[in-house]
Symmetry: C2
Subunit: 371 residues, 2 copies
């Protein structure tokens, strides 16, 4: 079923790169592209309430289907009004399909053409996700963007294993397309194919033939060297239609975002801002700051002088103290700072594209991070 109320608007392409300035119109408001989606695995971006999340500049949030299906269960979320009502986020939400998590988290995973059977990593209970079940769960959750259920394999891997999983993912994508019932949910296909340019292109073409409203690039940022990821993007993106949004899943570091935008990616998600924030690592334009370092004990300067986030109302010395004393507020504030940092980076990137200055922006950022 085709979803209504969604529209991808390509506003401008940077003259010096393939970076694109777009807008994704949805029934729950529009999303300025390129965009970064904070990860709200279990119906919350860890440690950040929705008001604070909104104030970071975040416009769309990701939820994890595998986690929510296990706890509290998609039916519980549905009975509490769906994921938006459940977590109190009125803006757009994207749910992943559960594919990546099943293959990375679950126990005793067994793949057949029908789907994947496995044991819950929480209580060992037996479960199964098929393409149809993934869509049914995502429809119960009520996200605005649903993802096709895919077969993700670890890299590096044998060529035939990657190819087999890739073509299974294409067949599953078609079943997802058939299974989708809600017309207020947009479904995206996921290009797989490891680091093989030809396989990536063939997979992209097969998915494009199925006419998805948007395309994701999956199976990257799983340990391969960044240049190989960029090369894979360069091989894949030309095979995707210019009039559909492109989403690079699970990426990444600020430099990965900038390099991927330069190659034409519109959407990102990653746990880095929050996971690193909980671990006392803060992002800044001058590189990362390890807040537990003793050098910050009496440091009265904020993480970034021009950052409007609540963490930057405090000194680095105070933030360090919070981590040393194991106070929750350390992870909370540093997560908020990091998400704010990512969103400010994306806002700057959008401005740079609009003024055909993306490459200058890219060089300046990379120079700052390496300083």
């Amino acid at each position: 079923m085709a979803s209504s109320g969604f529209r991808f608007e390509l506003m401008h392409t940077d003259t010096g790169s393939n970076a694109r300035r777009g807008r994704l119109h949805t029934p729950r408001g529009s999303v300025e592209l390129p965009t970064f989606m904070p990860v709200g695995t279990l119906g919350t971006v860890k440690g950040v309430d929705v008001d604070r999340l909104r104030s970071t500049g975040s416009q769309i949030v990701l939820g994890n289907t595998y986690h929510l299906a296990l706890r509290p269960g998609a039916d519980v979320v549905a009975s509490l009004g769906g994921l938006h009502e459940f977590m109190g986020w009125s803006g757009p939400i994207l749910t992943d399909s559960g594919g990546f998590q099943v293959f990375s988290l679950a126990d005793r995973v067994k793949v057949t053409e029908s789907g994947v059977s496995f044991r819950s990593h929480i209580d060992g209970s037996p479960l199964e996700i098929t393409p149809e079940r993934s869509i049914a769960i995502q429809e119960l959750l009520g996200s605005d963007f649903a993802m096709a259920f895919d077969h993700v394999v670890a890299l590096p891997n044998k060529r035939e294993v990657i190819a087999d999983a890739t073509w299974r993912s294409v067949r599953w994508a078609e079943r997802c397309r058939q299974a989708a019932q809600r017309n207020d949910q947009m479904l995206l296909g996921i290009v797989q194919g490891g680091l093989d340019p030809r396989l990536r292109q063939d997979c992209a073409k097969a998915l494009v033939a199925l006419d998805f409203q948007g395309y994701a690039i999956g199976g990257l940022s799983v340990g391969e060297p960044p240049p190989e990821m960029y090369a894979t993007l360069e091989a894949t993106i030309p095979a995707l239609p210019a009039d559909r949004p492109r989403y690079l899943m699970g990426v990444g570091r600020p430099e990965d975002l900038v390099e991927s935008m330069a190659r034409g990616v519109d959407m990102f998600d990653c746990v880095m801002p929050t996971r690193n924030g909980r671990n006392a690592l803060a992002f800044t334009d001058r590189g990362t700051i390890r807040l537990r370092n003793a050098q910050h004990e009496r440091d009265s300067s904020p993480l970034e002088a021009d950052c409007p986030c609540p963490a930057c109302q405090h000194s680095r010395g105070y933030l360090r103290h919070l981590f040393q004393a194991k106070e929750m507020l350390g992870p909370i504030l540093t997560s908020i700072h990091n998400i704010t940092y990512y969103q400010r980076l994306m806002a700057e990137a959008r401005l740079a594209i609009e003024s055909d200055a993306f490459d200058e922006f890219r060089r300046a950022k990379l120079a700052g991070w390496e300083a």
Copy 2:
């Protein structure tokens, strides 16, 4: 040294009880009395940033001298601008003296007339706090209200042990009075004396002779039955001057606050809202709610329909899920709700006193909590 810029204004005493409506003017703004002070042990009310804390209605915050002296150290706090600047709280702050914590938390505690030597509960390092050192630390922290350093003993205890500690506390209070240097910090004496009415009264009289600007009642809510605490308040408060604020330390449950206000207490602090909030216990006008209970799994109602706090923008089902999934946001939101609950209770109490209806207010609240 007498502090300037502080003034206690007694606005009204309830006609049907001893509840008092007052205002405590300080250089950092005024505090409406009776007031409840959330506990910010280590320079943060656990899980609650200062903007959120302000929005709970909190006007004054407590910091723990013992904890801050150990970590990060009073000199570090001072070098980062003092406790207000350190934690980003521009309103009034009260610091305790460290007495209660030394006797309840530290290892190998040894009391002499000079002071207390002990080992840090964190790293075992040897430390000493004397009355003069407690004042010096509190002056480094720069709180608006400092407490005299007292000798706290466990209850029940031998009569002579309690009396010995009580008179030592009086002698130490006099030394604190002599040691105090800052004229922007108001010093309060602490009445001890266990559950012995005569000893409490004698202690109060001895402290009043030292002319403190305010008086605290310490050594209560340490396990004794609530009626004994109330009886001790009834014996102590008449011995305190009406024109000085009265602070009941470490208390307590909502019913303790109401019963103590009825007996003339103006100020409270307690970890209950935050400690219970972290443990999934929420306060409401209909008693406490254990959010982990399975009955809340699909409960779409908020903790309290008329509560303006961010937790009450969510369903009980969502809050339960956060605790089940061990998400930080559960403790965060429930702590904020509980502080908001306490502050709304205090605001209602102040209105009740103003309209000479405190007993009616007291009965209605107790009936609701017991329902």
